[in-house]
């Protein structure tokens, strides 16, 4: 008689051996080799990893975390959110407050307050900026505020049984409302300019190669952790209940499960992961503004997931990486073509690749059995 397996064993077993090997290779490269080559080789060396690779790489890994987070709710629980950019941006803003406080007196107006507040002729910080000069408090805000918003929103949406395309529409409305709210100067987050001109994080200069390397490694660690957590979740009994809710929600109720709490759990977790990614993203790109909350941004996240293959966890990582690398190239080479390319991509994958790149790969490896 086998006893109940401990949580650690179950987490370990949830990712297959090949997955752990891939994760090991990923860690070696992104936590070891790349940062080391960036820091310890001269810029002229052929082995040198440039600033660009580190910042773009770090940024894309943050996007990949968001894509995996969306896959958890969309691919495994059937909740298509078109507002995940909001949680990402809120995490970014929460950590951005700390980065703004860290500028100290080095702003243009050399004031205690950030430049935008001086510009508005404010004399002191609004109440919600209290404590944001403390790193840990800012970190708590990163994790708690977006989670709380997601929880409350989910509570109303899921308990009134809003589903499918209606839910997608209200998530769009939510992120749009967030964007309009943050655009206002009076809201206290820098209006349409948002936060920028950061100087340091935890006392380290924000553009120093070593700071960049650490942020890059943290992004890689967050991505790896998100994948392991996600794999455990979707292979666990909760994952099976979620998939059952996705496929036949009314039936799940008659089995005695309350879908509300399952959806709320995965929804809030997903939002929190997005927020953590947002908090790592902001120091790497050096800016956060309300355009991150634009409805189009959130739709783009869904495109990454669909392109890579929803319901696969690894697919969204590929999707986020490939689409963003293409974007980096397109917006330099043919900036005006990019929106058309993105739209075309979405139409093509919807029509031809319902399971995305990963689905295509599995189909090529294992030809479909004759029906």
């Amino acid at each position: 008689m086998a006893p109940r397996k401990s949580l650690a064993v179950r987490v370990l077993e949830s990712t297959p051996r090949a997955g752990w090997l891939a994760l090991g290779a990923f860690s070696l490269l992104f936590l070891g080799v790349l940062p080391a080559l960036h820091l310890f080789t001269p810029a002229a060396s052929r082995l040198h990893v440039s600033d660009l690779v580190i910042t773009v790489g770090g940024k894309i890994m943050c996007y990949a975390v968001v894509a995996v987070a969306l896959d958890l709710v969309w691919g495994y629980a059937g909740i298509l959110s078109l507002g995940h950019g909001l949680f990402f941006a809120l995490g970014g803003y929460a950590f951005g407050m700390y980065l703004m406080r860290s500028i100290g007196h080095e702003g243009v107006y050399q004031s205690d307050l950030p430049d935008f507040m001086v510009f508005l002729d404010w004399k002191k910080y609004p109440w919600f900026w209290t404590g944001t000069d403390h790193f840990l408090w800012a970190l708590a805000l990163v994790l708690v505020v977006p989670a709380l918003l997601a929880f409350v929103f989910g509570l109303f949406a899921f308990s009134s049984r809003v589903r499918g395309v209606y839910l997608s529409i209200i998530t769009q409305a939510l992120t749009y409302a967030g964007m309009l709210f943050f655009f206002r100067n009076e809201t206290g987050f820098g209006g349409n300019n948002g936060f920028t001109d950061f100087k340091r994080v935890l006392g380290f200069p924000i553009t120093a190669p070593s700071t960049r390397a650490v942020l890059f490694m943290l992004s890689a660690a967050l991505l790896g952790g998100t994948l392991v957590l996600g794999r455990y979740l979707v292979t666990s009994r909760v994952g099976r209940v979620l998939a059952a809710i996705r496929d036949e929600e009314p039936r799940v109720r008659f089995l005695g499960y309350d879908p509300l709490w399952y959806k709320l759990f995965v929804w809030t977790l997903s939002a929190t992961l997005c927020a953590a990614a947002g908090a790592l993203y902001v120091p790497q790109v050096g800016i956060i503004n309300p355009s991150e909350m634009s409805p189009a941004n959130s739709i783009e996240i869904a495109i990454w997931v669909a392109f890579g293959g929803r319901g696969t966890l690894v697919g969204p990582v590929l999707g986020a990486s490939l689409v963003n690398l293409a974007k980096s190239w397109f917006t330099v080479a043919f900036p005006e073509v990019w929106p058309f390319f993105l739209g075309l991509l979405f139409i093509l994958i919807t029509l031809l690749l319902p399971r995305g790149v990963v689905g295509l790969a599995t189909r090529l490896r294992r030809p479909r059995r004759p029906a």
Binding site: M1, A2, P3, R4, K5, L7, R10, S236, R237, V238, R240, V241, A243, A244, D247, E248, P250, R251, V252, R253, F254, L255, G256, Y257, D258, W261, Y262, F265
Partner: protein
């Protein structure tokens, strides 16, 4: 007919207080299900009209009736999917079904098999049973607690009982129609409900499968209360038990199968056509 039970305010509040942890059904008085004067109207159409029905503890009851007689609506009321406009529905002496949610009713001990087999097609046969297995359904319990060997044993036992032991790692969507029906019955049983509602359990089954199903249902009647909705008269004859004939949302006749088949009103509206 005067309803024996109305829905006064006091039991309502009591039912609400129970909602967090659905109580244990009180089976004294030997009645497991009371439906009293239930009326359900959809857009002016009376699906149920003053329906009154009592099911005793341990009873096997068959419900028949022409299409639109209200059989499925009756099950919807009992499982909380549809709220009646009027009337009272109690599970045992104490649980007001009109006040509980679908989830709470399922947890209280009413299991339902749907007309169309609804198994989770993309889950394996074993996972389907695992989802249905009686246990704590709260997120944190399900997240942190694994299945013990005892649970696995119960699943294995049920797999043998429903003749799916060799199919346990197949996707449920790949099963034959009859196998899906059996899987759904198995899912119902591992929930360990006291009252089972079976909506056309042998639809689409071969004669042999039908016979085996009748055997299974008869064996269940020893330990459960059952309500079976069915069209197949031969199957009902195999089950035995009392028969209720529904017509236009109310009870037309009740008795043994022979009695109702000889009832002139039944012959007129249903069997005679």
């Amino acid at each position: 007919m005067m309803p024996i039970l109305t829905a006064p305010t006091a039991p309502r509040r009591a039912a609400f207080a129970r909602a967090a942890s659905p109580g244990v059904v009180d089976e004294t008085h030997d009645v497991i299900l009371y439906l009293e004067g239930i009326t359900v109207t959809f857009d002016g159409f009376r699906a149920l009209n003053q329906l009154t029905l009592h099911i005793e503890v341990g009873e096997l009851r068959c419900v028949i009736g022409p299409n639109g007689a209200g059989k499925t609506t009756m099950m919807d009321v009992v499982t909380g999917r549809t709220r009646p406009d009027r009337g009272a529905a109690f599970f045992g002496q104490n649980l007001d079904l009109t006040e509980l949610s679908e989830t709470e009713i399922a947890l209280a001990g009413i299991g339902r098999k749907f007309q169309k087999p609804t198994v989770f097609e993309r889950h394996t046969v074993r996972e389907n049973l695992e989802l249905a297995l009686k246990g704590d359904r709260r997120v944190r319990r399900v997240l942190l607690g694994g299945l013990g060997s005892e649970d696995e044993g119960r699943i294995d036992g049920m797999l043998r009982r429903i003749h799916l032991a060799g199919e346990d790692s197949r996707e449920a969507g790949l099963l034959s129609h009859g196998q899906k029906q059996w899987l759904e019955i198995g899912m119902l049983l591992v929930q360990e409900p006291q009252l089972l509602l079976l909506d056309e359990p042998v639809a689409g089954m071969t004669d042999e499968e039908t016979e085996r199903t009748a055997e299974l249902i008869r064996s269940l009647a020893e330990t459960h209360s059952l309500v079976v909705v069915e069209h197949d008269m031969a199957f009902i004859a195999q089950l035995g038990g009392r028969v209720t004939v529904l017509h236009e949302g109310s009870v037309l006749a009740e008795g043994s199968l022979d009695e109702v088949q000889e009832n002139p009103r039944v012959i007129e509206v249903y069997l005679g056509r």
